[in-house]
Every structure is written in C-alpha cells, then in structure tokens.
Symmetry: C2
C-alpha cells in the first residue's frame, strides 16, 4: 500500500487553504448523507472498517515503523514513543473497539418526551447529529479509529487531525476507513484524515465555521488551551482533572480507606485520579496513620498541610500553595486537613478543576449538600473518582470528558455528539 504524505505546502502557500476548504465542503456533503443513513448501514461500515484493519495489519505496522523510526531519530521521549506505537495488541484493540461501537444503540432519530399540549398538538424531541465534527489530537494513531467510529455511529461527518509524528500511521489507518466506507456505499469523505504535517492546517481548521460545527481537542493541556483560544467554532473541551476525595466527620473508616487508596493508586496518569485528599479534622486521627502507611507502601509521595504533617513529618513533605492547584498525574498526593465540609467544598470549588470530586460520609444531609454545591462535572458519594469514565457510566464509549458546562458536561458518549430538534404532530392544528 502506498501512502502519500502531502507536506508540500509552504507556509505562505494558498494551497493548504484550498486543501482545507475542499475538505470542509466534502465533509458537509457527506454529513447530509450520513445524517439519514440507517443504523444498519453505519454498522456495516464500522464492521467493514474493522475487516480492512484486520487484513492490512502488516501495512499499518510498516507505516507505523516509519513514524517510530523518525520519532526515535528526532529524539522524542519514551512516553510519546509508547503512545505512537501500533503493536498487534493495539491493532486488535482498535478492531475490538469498532465492534463495540457497532453494539451500541444508535442515538440518531430517537424520539422522546412526546407530550400532548392543551392546544392539541403533541410536542417532543428527536435526536439528530451535530453535522461535521473536527477532532484534533496528539500522536496516538489509535485515536483515529476511536474518533472516526464514534462520529460515524452518531451520524456525523468528521475531519481528523492527528499529531504530525503519526502521519504515516494515520494515513495507513485512513486507507482502511476509506475501504470500509466505500465497500458499504458511503462517501469516503464521511471521515477525512488531514494529510499534511503543515501546522497551519490546525489554525485553518479552527476557523472553518461554515463547514465544521464543533471542535473536540483530545490531548494535553497546551493543545486544548491553544484550540480553545484560537477557535471561532464551538469547542467541547476537556481540561485538567484535579480531583478530590473529601473524608467527612461521619465517614465510614473502611470505605474512606478503600476509596482514597483506589482513587489515588489505581492509575496515576489518568484525569480521574485523586490529586488532593481532604480530611475532616475530627476523623483525621482515626484515618491518617493507616492511610499514610498504605499510600507510602504503594510508593506515593505525600505533601501535606501543617496539620497533616504532624502525623508523620518524616514521610510527609510540606505542601505549598501550588500543590493545591496541581494535577500531578503521578504518584504524588497533596493532603489537607479541613475543619469540615464547608471548608472542603470551598477548597474544591476554588482549587479544583470541576472534573470529579467525591465525599465519603454516612451523613444524609451533608451528602445531599455536597452533591448540590460541588460544581464539578461528576460529583460522587462513597465511590472512587476512578469511576468517572464513559464505559463505567454506561455510555459505551467516550470521545472525552467535558469540563465545559454548555452542551455536554462530563463523559461525552454518542449522545453528546448529537443534538435534539423539536418535533410536532398535529391533525390540522392551527394556533389561535
């Protein structure tokens, strides 16, 4: 398979502008077809893409090898190389991911809330695709399949822009997508993967109001901030996950212990990991010794407030102001002893990132208050923050976790990629 990488566009060239404009027009045309494609057509396309991936493993790995070699020569770090690599297991996971998306209910066309009004008309809502979705991500080629599948199933055309280090891998994967779409009889422009490493493509993409309805950046904070700043198109963004667990005065000690340990140590590099533990002063003496020991045993570095440090100044470092604002994504935990829930909520709402926060308590009124007053996309009672995830919430798959309030908040699944229009059934009704 030959993969032509278009990187001939000079920085002052209008060619890249024309290329992007054409992608936009093609996406708009494809979106009209896709919006009304039957569920079985979309599922057939997903399965045909899976089949193409299965058949073309070798050419995908060859393309990926090319990217890996260049990345190594360019001295990219180990974490990036790991994300770039398409192993057999990762290709298998992409194929499996497509099959999972097939198994999800099709959200498009869903009719709900059809209620009769006093005038006699019946009013409700029908779920519809958003149109064209632009996705900008880093050098993780498996995201290409993920994003394409979720957009396709939700009836949206997509324009995908992956990190430049993955261009050969992404184009090899895109060949499989094209093959799957064409075999199904859908326009190949239902999904488009931008075929240039020219960075100006991103800037252009962020301002294609006429042809892209929403931009979803997936990746690190700097990427997302750039997208949010430069885009004139609506953005569904996922910023930091600075998650808290608050252990209340009336916490069950055993639940508090399990949840704290799980929220911090299940995985360190994920957005739903706990970064700051808040403990009510009255329960701290009962909680802290065992919990500190368990966390240290797991190799977690602790940074505490002065009251926390008293429990074991030898192993608990001093937390500075910056610690309360830091998403470590590492085996580090900041701990603060607070006077009670009021102070905890104040801390979470002002230092947190409005992602996911949990209270551990047996107290009914405080549980209710915490749920109401913590301004985060997920708020939990007696459960680990690690549950904040599209699969765990039953969305089936997620394109990301929105820390925005408009349109979608929290894990964004297929429904988050749709809108609802009003539909009205009458029987010749006129308005008086």
């Amino acid at each position: 398979m030959s993969v032509a990488v278009k990187n001939e566009f000079g920085p002052d060239s209008t060619a890249i502008g024309q290329y992007m404009a054409q992608l936009g027009r093609d996406a708009r045309v494809a979106a009209e077809v896709l919006a009304y494609a039957d569920p079985e057509i979309k599922n057939a396309a997903l399965l045909n893409i899976a089949e193409a991936l299965d058949e073309q493993r070798e050419s995908i790995k060859i393309a990926n090898q090319k990217d890996m070699l260049k990345a190594e020569n360019d001295g990219l770090d180990a974490a990036l190389l790991d994300r770039l690599l398409l192993s057999d297991a990762r290709i298998e996971a992409m194929i499996e991911g497509l099959r999972q998306v097939v198994s999800l209910a099709d959200p498009v066309g869903e009719i709900s809330e059809m209620e009769y009004r006093p005038s006699g008309i019946q009013v409700g809502k029908m779920r519809v695709p958003l149109g064209v979705i632009g996705i900008i991500y880093e050098s993780r080629p498996n995201v290409t399949i993920d994003a394409a599948a979720l957009c396709l199933k939700s009836g949206n055309a997509s324009i995908l822009r992956g990190g430049k280090e993955a261009i050969n891998s992404n184009q090899a994967i895109y060949q499989c997508i094209v093959q799957g779409l064409q075999k199904t009889g859908l326009p190949k422009t239902c999904v488009q993967v931008i075929n240039t490493v020219d960075r100006s493509a991103v800037g252009l993409m962020l301002n294609m109001q006429d042809s892209i309805d929403v931009i979803i950046p997936r990746g690190g904070k700097s990427l997302i901030e750039r997208v949010a700043t430069e885009a004139s198109i609506p953005v569904i963004k996922h910023l930091d996950g600075l998650c808290h667990v608050y252990i209340d005065d009336d916490a069950d000690l055993s639940k508090a212990f399990d949840i704290s340990l799980n929220a911090k140590t299940r995985r360190y590099g994920v957005c739903n990991a706990m970064e700051t533990l808040l403990v009510a002063n009255s329960i701290a003496q009962h909680m802290m010794p065992d919990l500190i020991e368990a966390l240290v045993d797991k190799g977690v570095e602790l940074r505490g407030c002065s009251r926390t440090r008293q429990f074991n100044p030898a192993v608990i470092g001093s937390a500075v102001d910056e610690d309360w604002e830091t998403e470590y994504l590492a085996p580090i935990l900041s701990i603060k002893i607070v006077d009670g829930m009021e102070q905890a909520i104040e801390h979470i709402n002002h230092h947190g990132s409005h992602h996911t926060d949990a209270i551990v308590t047996e107290n009914y009124t405080r549980a209710r208050q915490f749920l109401r007053r913590v301004d985060s996309s997920s708020v939990m009672v007696n459960a680990s923050t690690a549950f904040a995830d599209g699969f765990e919430y039953g969305l089936g798959a997620e394109i990301g976790i929105s820390t925005d309030k408009l349109h979608a908040r929290g894990p964004v699944g297929l429904k988050g990629l749709t809108s609802q229009k009003y539909i009205v059934f009458g029987d010749g009704h006129i308005r008086h």
Copy 2:
C-alpha cells in the same frame, strides 16, 4: 427616584474596562450564592420584584418618558418607539410575567436517570445552572424583566445590556429588581443592568470569558451577527425564521388550507410565520385557487414560481432567486410548486434558516421521512408553524429560539439555561 446614567466613559478610557470587570467579578460571586438558593428564596425574590414594579409604576413611566422624548427628538422610527414605550398594559404584563415564572417548576437540582451499573454504582444526572449569563438586547425595556426573571429562576446570575435608547427605563426597572433582591436577602448583583450607553461595553462583555459563561443576544439579525462574530464566549443565538409549509401530494385539503393561512397570516412580524409555501404539483390544481383567493383577501402579496403564476398571473408576482432566501416578516409570501417531497426537502434544507418547517400530508412514510430529513429546530406534521414557541411547547417561558445545534435547539426555556452534571451514589465502591 433618581436614576444616574453612567455615560462619562470616554472611548479611550480604561474606566469602562474597570467598570465591566467589576460587574463580572460581582456576577461571579452572586452566581455562587444563586446556584444553591432554595426555590422558595428565588420565588420570593421574583414576587418582591413584581411588588416593587407595582409600587413604582409612576417613576418607571417618568423614566420611560425621558427615553421616549429623546428617541422622538432623535427621529427614531415608529416601530422602535412602539417597542420602547412602557404603557400601563406593558408594566402589567411584566408583573404578570414574573408571577408566571414563579409558577414554573424550578429546574435546578432535578435528579434524573439514576441507573445502577454492573459495578454497583448508581449513576445519573443533576441539573445545575450555567453560572453567569450575559444578555444583549435592543431597546425593549420589558425584556429587562423577562431576562432577569428567567435567569434568576434558573439559578444564574445575569448581566443585562439593553439598547441605549432605553437606558433610563432600564435603570428604573433595575431599581425595582435591586429592591426585590435586597428585600429577599439575595445579593443585588444577582442581576446587573449595564449602566452606560458607551457602545464599547458590548465589545468588552463579549470577551469576558472568566466571568460570563454564555451570551444570549435578543434582537435583530445585525445585532446577533455582531455578537456571534465578536464573542469569544459561547453564544446561544437566534437567527432568521424563514419557515416553510410543504403541502404534500397526499395532503388533506382542508388541513392544508387552514394551516397555510394560519402560518402566514396569524402574525406577520414573527419568526415562526411561514415565508415560503411549497406545493406538490399533483395537488396544486386542487389547492391553489381557493388558497390564493384567501391569501389575497387577507392582503398578502404573492410571489410565485412560473408554475404558480399560471393560477392567477394577475395577482401573483414573479418570485426571483432572492425571494427563496428572504424572511419577509411582512404580508408577503413566496410560493413554489415542486415535483414532490424530495424537492421540497432539498429546498427547505438549502434555502431555509433551520428554524421551523411543516409538512401537510396523510402519508405515513413521507411524514416520517420529512421529520427525519428536514434539518430544522422544529419540524411539524399537520400543524401550523405558528406553534413554534416556548409557551406552546410547554416550556412556560422562553428566552429565545435557538437556531444553533449545540447546547440548545429551538425554544429555550428554563432548562435551556441549565446544564447537567453527573452524580454517582456508591456504598464504598472502588474501581477494579
């Protein structure tokens, strides 16, 4: 009552910047209080505002008289003067509007869809306010109360900017709002009405990302387009209402007649009025003579395609391309005879404004197809487009009709001014 109008800010002054920044900070603080205010507190505030309006009718009318005089001297047109006028009936309507908002269910804190997941956690959603809403509108002082009431009830702080011609009226109304809020013990900055006629206030407002969560422009197309172009904050916008009725081959003639007449002639200057009538060729000869006569009797100017004109070239003018793209907001109707539904849908999706479109048909399959394939915020079968309205849909009140797809589409009521966060109930659950 003295109403001080701050208009001392020069165009190069930083004073206006500081003034707006302070409004933003105050709104953010008020939003935190309002987000968790009990329903009875918010309702008491609305009733106290109504009471203040009732008591201060005379000072409101004096302030309005000042605006009216200036507007007359400035030679503003009759339509604008009419919208600016606060008659006794309009003040009464504002008071009644507040009472209606009191009677609506409070959307905030509503918990829904709490489902158990295989892991044992229970996951669902809680409705929450958006935060701070900025509303920019024209010189219709009654919108000040409307907008303030809907934002307050939905738990959002608001920053309101009305047209400069209404500044004295708006400030007089704002005094009543302040009085009502303070009597209830809520911060007066829960609602803020910008007290300057300096146009740069709008530009500043559109870029206060840190203190405004969403901007809603209410008014004519040029205002909305300016807001959409200049805002770096998300905008919920309401553009044109170029609505269609399509009379299908299988239409019931009597329903088609009633609906067409109602959709066009109930009111002319509203966004849900029909502007273009599409008629299937096979039914045209049965429909057109009576309908043309009825429309002409009502004083509607008709502009038709060549096939339409054949029915009565004496009264039907020639429609030009521009007619299919025009929201007349007047007693003018463009009429096109189409070959069938395919052509009608094509016309609606490409010439319409995605606001409200209706089919009249007895055919089950075509009704279903039309509902699916017409890409508008409201799609109707056998009902007049005049029903596209928050009250008719049961939303109780509306802040506008969104022609956007993201976040809110169609009439936007209290729920449209809220978001949902995920909530999770556990019993010590950890993720494996």
